[in-house]
Structure formats: C-alpha cells, structure tokens
Symmetry: none
Subunit: 205 residues, 4 copies
DNA sequence: CATGAATGAGAGTTCATTCAT
DNA sequence: AATGAATGAACTCTCATTCAT
C-alpha cells in the first residue's frame, strides 16, 4: 500500500467520524430539530460542504446515527437460549443491556423519536427498533404462559406495553424532559425487573 | 337572539372558541411544529391578526390547549375514596379515564410532548401533568405495601415506570407513530389493568 | 365600499405591480438565471417575503411575465380578415406588431427562451407562443399557394422557418447578444417583409 | 505498443480526449448550466483534479468545444468559387453543410447560445461564428443584385435575417425545445434552400 | 375587535474550484 | 500527471409576528 493510499482513505474516514461525534454533541445540546448543519460542521472543525459529502443531509445523518443505536441494541438484546432456566436473570440482563445502550445513545434516541413524530420515514425506523424488543418480550410472556403463569394475557399487547414502560422509564430516568438523571443505576434495573417479573406473573419463590 | 344574549356570547368569545377548535384540527392533521398560524386562522374562518388578539403566539395557544387536557385529566383521575375496598375496580376506572381523555386530546398530548422535547417551558407543563398521575399511583402502591404486597418496591420509582407504561401504551394504541389505532378499547383497558395489578403484586381475590 | 376596502385591495395590487416592474428591470440587467429574488424585492422596495406572497417563486414570476408577453402578442397578431386583398400590407402589419411587442418585452422573451433551454415547463410555454405565429404564417402560405404561388412548399415547415427568421432577426436587431440595437425600425420592417414576401413567392407587381 | 508509440499518445492526451467526449455526453444529457464538473470527470473515468489540469474551468471547456464547432463549420462553409455558375446548387450545399455540422454539435451549439445569453465572452464567440455565415450570405445577395435580382434589399441585414432563419430552423428541427427531431433531412434542406432562393429573388431557370 | 399584507432572519443545500498527497 | 476530499459563498424559500387600516 502506497503512502498516498494509506493517508487518503483515512482522511475521509476521519472526517466522517469527526462529523458523527460532533453531531452527537450538538444534537445532545440543542435537540435534533434545532441542530444546525453549520454548527455540526463547525464543531467537527470541518466545512459545511464536507458534511454534505459524507451525509446526504440532516435526515441521512440521523438515519446513520439511529442505525448505530439499533444495531448495538440488536447485538445486546437476544431471546433466551434454549435451555435457559433462570428467566429472571435473563430479564435483568436484557433490561441492563437496554439501559446501558439507551443512556449511551440517549440524544440520538430522543432525536429519533422527535423526528418520528413528524416524519413517517423515521417513524418506520423507530417501529423497527421497537418491534425487535416486542418480539423478545412476547416470546418471554408466551414462555411464562406455557408454565401456567398469567393466563389470559394477550402476549403481543402486553409485550408492547412493557416495552413502552422500559423505554420511557429509561428515557425519564436518564434525564427525561430537562430533569436530572437518576444516580442509582441499580435502582433502575431492580425496579424495572421487579415490575416486569410481577407483571407477567412470574412468581419468584 | 336578544341583544343581551349576544352580549353573553360576544364576538370575541366565539372567535376564541373557533380558533381553539381549528387549532386542534390543524395540529391533528399536521403536527404542532408544522401547523402554521395562518392555516389555523383560515380553518377558523378568521384573520391572522385575530389569532394574535386571542393568543400571544403559537406557544401560548399550545399552553391553553394543554391546560384543557390537564384539567380534564385532573377532574377524572382521583385517588381512591376513604373506604374504597375494590382497588382493582378503581384502577380499571383510572386507566379508563386516562385512555378516554388521552384519545380525546391525543394531538394536543403529542404536541405537548413534542414541544417539551425542545422547550423547557413545555417540559415543565408535561412534568406537572405526569406528577399528578405519579402521585395517585404511588399512593396506591403504598396502600398495597401496607397490606403486605410487593415489599421492597420503591413506590415513587415504580409509579413513574407504570405511568410511563400507561402513557406510552395509550400513545401507541391510539395511533402511535403513524400506525392504525387499536379497535378494541376493552383490550387496552384489560391489558393495562392486568399488568399494573400484577406488577404491584395485588393478588386478585 | 368602505375606506378599508378601498385602501386594502390596492396595497397588495401596488406591491404586485412594483414587483413585476422591478423583475423586468433586474432581469433585463442581469438575465433571468442570475436575477436574484432578493434583488428584485429590493428594487421594488419590498421585503423578500412580499415577493413570495405574490409569486410562488422565480419560475412563477417568469410564467406571469411570459403570459403578459403572450397575450399581448395574441391580441396584436391576427390572421387576415375574410376579404383582405392586400396581403403584403397585412404581412407588414404583422411584422410590425411582432417587432413592437418583442422590443417592449425583450428581456422577458430572452428570459423565457433561456429558461426553456433548461426547463420543459418553459419550453412548453415557448412552443405555445411560437405555434400561434406558425399557424398564422402557414395560413398565409396556403392562401398564396391557392393563388398559384410557391407550389411545392411545405406550408408548416416553411412557416416554422419564417417564424424562426422573424423571431431571431428581431432578437438580433433589438440588441441580440450584447450588441447595440438597430436604430432604424423601418429598415427592420422592410427587410423582413420583403424577405417573407419573396420567400413565399408573392410577386408584387 | 512500443514505448515510442505510447509517448506519441501520452496519458495526458488520452485524458484530454476522454474528458472532451464525456463533456459532450453530459452536456447533451443535462445542458451546460446543469452539467457538473464532477459528472463530466466521472463519465470520463478520471478524477476531478484531472479535469482542472486540462481545462482552466467549465468556461474554458466550453470554449474549446465551441472552437471545434466553429472550425468545422468554417472548413465546410465556403464562398462560391470564382466561376461558379450554379448558385442554387452551392446554396443547397451550404445549407447541407450547416445542417450536418449543427446536428453533430447540437448540444455544444445550444450550450454556447445559452452561455452567450449570460456571458459576454461567449456572446463574442457566437457573434464570430455568426459573422462567418453572414459574410458568405451577404456576398451571395450582392452577386444576385449584380444580376438584377432583389434590388433595394440591404445585403447585410437580409443576410443576417436569413442566417437567423437557417440557424434557428435547424435548432428547431434537430430537437428544438424538447421536441422530437425531424426525420426527413431532405425536407429540411429543400425547404430552407427554396425559401432562401426565393427570398433573394433568384429566379430558378 | 378584526384584518391580512408586509416583513426578514435564518435554515438547508449546491457545486466550481483548490491543493496536499 | 493524477487524484478526490475539502471548502464556503451564494442561493432559494418559510413562517411567526407586526401594525396600519
């Protein structure tokens, strides 16, 4: 590999990374709607045009950042393994994975929701992320019902409601609407795990 | 209509009501951010100037509409009466009250949340509405704990999480992010009531 | 009619007229592509927003001005009356009508052609104007052929070519591509009338 | 291929040719104003920088392509030889030469005209091309007048008008403003030759 | 009270050109 | 000679708000 090649590929790559990071900062500070492309570029120490040579526009930027969030979530949240016989532990692990991923990507998650309220394209991305979580949750509820717990609960509806709870409780406790974030991570995890465990009727003995 | 009657419902009052109603329609159709003052005025059959003689601006309009939402909610959601001995029935009634109020004011509730993501003034309004619900919920959890249920649950945290669940499940099922609203109201009420009942460990029977 | 009505209607009207006139000046000076909306508004002594409350954009402005050109042309260029027995005089009148209308609207005619080179919407407008002229011309050629002149000439093709001649000769002589306009109007009219008369084989005795 | 041969057609020369050809294609497709340097470079399979090492810019590119057009036209359009005694045949040949050259270079001719409407530098190039044609035409009219034809016609003005006719009729029939090109070349040549012959009063026979 | 024409700051986006490699 | 990432001036268009009538 020549010197030119070594230096050239990374230059664009470094710009792209700088812009992504700057976008995260500016969006965290100002919100997505108020984040100006010019500010993001400046924060990244790049020209405006550079932004547009890496992203088709503000929307494409958010799509890219949302995809980071989605893929990390997908990597960390998995249905229980075949012979898993400690469902509460698995549930706790899942809540932890969501909480940690959510807080790491919080400004992007908020931006995505904000954009989804307005724009059908982002609504679709959001629904896709949500659907992944609902699928895992519904599988857990069906497993519980197979063991005789919580008969009569509609698994998909209940899963939707529980995902909404986890999602917006995490939203709230990670800073919510201009409030201070919770300090005690363990309390978050314990509260949500307890509520879900009980809600689906899993009697821990 | 006599002169006196006309004076009771003067032109100014009729304009204000027409503008409120028009605003609800336009916000429902376009969302708050995209709703233009000119469209609201036109929908109301009034001039733009008339809008500004009744509301200080778009923000003040939303504040007024949000106050309608909040006050209706406050009127319908009450802590259990002294000797109330059917907590599940009361919970069901509370969920029904929220669901009905929410669906009636859905566009305003969404607008309020959307604005709250961006603007601290609206965040405060939102938190106030939320706090009302959390207070009632936390009271119920403490009552349950007094009877020996769900020991060890942090009442305020759990109440927050459950309110988030109700709120965003209702959001989701009333149309969510560009999806079809659920058709079966009873399923909504039953699912949420069941989940909450179990979550706080209230053994029915 | 109340005072308010009298004053209000004209205010918008005066702005619209001021913007049209300003547009003509700026387009004449800079050409259509280089004409900035901000300059037109300033030249009219109005705000940019005012421009956009009267025209949907630069394109709509040009369409409006082009329609003025087209309608004036249509009003002044007519096929010969039934018993017209002095075709050369009528031809001369037609050329004069075109020349005078063209020079009066020259910047707009140029702008329209410039835009038509790029934009199919304007190409259609241009073709419509051209078609009106070709129709009259072709009618004249057919009349000449009925009298035995210029046998074998395709009337539509010949009419197209002659209209092209008149159009671009007028373009050229009214200032062309950064040249001085011709001073002698009579020479223009005589030259074009002679060429057309001979071209279609009308022997003036 | 030997080293010597490679040197005769060096890399730089091949790049220049590829860029010229790519430019013709992109300009034909998009028009000159909308043709982006980046697209031309890509179409040529070269880098943007390479474009700028061969042409000073977009304008210089158009100048070069226009010069190709002009020089081919100049090579094919010649005044009649001394003892030429079939002026109609010569006229027909001249029209054919223009038509064939024009259609071959049509996108460039259009681009040149488009640029000339805006830019005095290109207006000068256009006028130079036009002047060559007018000179030949005027010479022919003077020859006709020497034989007693079309007395009283201003040779230069008439030549200008007839050149305008040929030019824009060819423009029109080769595709004009987003129309289908004419299919019958012979009809073009015959119509234009007839009209010119008659216009300058050359009695055939 | 009602009106609606006027306003203009401010946003996103484009693309010819440069220059370090 | 060739490259293509970086640049930023320049442009169009939006819409909440004002105020003369």
């Amino acid at each position: 590999m020549s010197k030119a090649q070594r230096a050239e590929q990374p230059r664009a790559r470094r710009s792209a990374l700088a812009l992504r990071e700057a976008a995260r900062q500016v969006i965290a500070r100002d919100g997505f709607a108020a984040a100006r492309v010019a500010d993001i570029a400046q924060q990244a120490g790049r020209g405006i045009g550079t932004f547009y040579s890496h992203f088709a526009g503000k929307e494409a930027l958010l799509e890219a950042l949302a995809e980071d969030f989605r893929s990390e979530l997908a990597a960390r949240i998995q249905p229980p393994a075949e012979g898993d016989n400690d469902p509460v532990a698995h549930l706790h692990g899942t809540v932890r994975a969501f909480w940690e991923t959510y807080t790491a990507h919080r400004p992007i998650a908020m931006a995505l929701f904000q954009a989804a309220l307005t724009d059908a394209r982002f609504a679709a991305i959001w629904r896709r992320i949500r659907a992944d979580g609902v699928r895992v949750s519904a599988a857990r509820i069906r497993a519980a019902q197979a063991l005789g717990h919580c008969p009569g609960l509609d698994p998909d509806r209940a899963a939707t409601a529980l995902c909404a709870m986890v999602e917006f409780a995490c939203f709230e406790w990670s800073g919510g609407l201009h409030t201070a974030p919770i300090e005690d991570d363990q309390l978050v995890l314990r509260t949500l795990t307890d509520l879900m465990t009980h809600a689906i009727g899993w009697r821990d003995r």
